[in-house]
Point group: C2
Chain length 169, copies 2
Amino acid sequence: MNLYDATVPIFTKLLHQAETWLDKAVASAEQRKFDPEILLQARLAPDQYPLLRQLQSAADQAKFTCAKLIGKDPPSHPDTEKTIPEIRARMRSIIEYLSTLKREDFNGAEERPCGHLWMQGKKLRGGDYLDHVALPNFHFHLTTAYAILRHNGVQIGKDDYLGPIPYLT
Amino acid sequence: MNLYDATVPIFTKLLHQAETWLDKAVASAEQRKFDPEILLQARLAPDQYPLLRQLQSAADQAKFTCAKLIGKDPPSHPDTEKTIPEIRARMRSIIEYLSTLKREDFNGAEERPCGHLWMQGKKLRGGDYLDHVALPNFHFHLTTAYAILRHNGVQIGKDDYLGPIPYLT
């Protein structure tokens, strides 16, 4: 086992899936005759991040998870996106970054101490970081983005979340 | 690495966290003078599962993930819950089941073929099942449950989702 398998292909696939939700969101807005950009500011509660920030957060968690696990600095994304094409470009940029990572970069990642700024200097074993923080937080933001679109009438389903499943042949 | 670490302690902690959301939901309903049981039928879209079914689905995914990975049948839960005490009992029953599992039960789990009835006979390697299906689906339903409560004004935050983090000391 190598933590590459639990990270790079999963984040790549799910960020790609989120782009397909945006395709459906834009088509739905056009059919219902409203500006699809309005959806980026939609939220489920007034004190919760809107769709744009949920997507930024999920994409950031994908990027930082891999960077922390391999012990290298990731590319910077300064949260300046305001439009659907801009958030798409952000997600694609992170998918592109993920594509540069190799399995061997993750050798020993499960024991590497990992931390974020919000942890105020504290760190976790890499394996614990992945299981207790990185994957839950990634899915937390990505599912909330999905839920905001569902709540706003975009016709997506769980298969659009999970994406293609690598069955044994 | 052993898949026990990515499953049993995570599911146990997060199902326990979900019980704390129900504590806050009941307190919030009492303060706002409505029957907290109403929340179990709340949903974010008319063609999406309500809170009750989201919690059943998350709890089921926790149970089945471990059972499939260790190659044993799990206890049966026939989806008969209708009330908050009943769904709490369901979650506690699954936490109790998880507590009976041992690390060595998961030896070799990453290569064990795993499948659900909805996969119509197809199976995945255990490691792929965990990364591509089980964890995404668990978080998908648990985050949706969380989002339904947030949308209905229950004061919970991301720390209530993630729960205690096992930092290095």
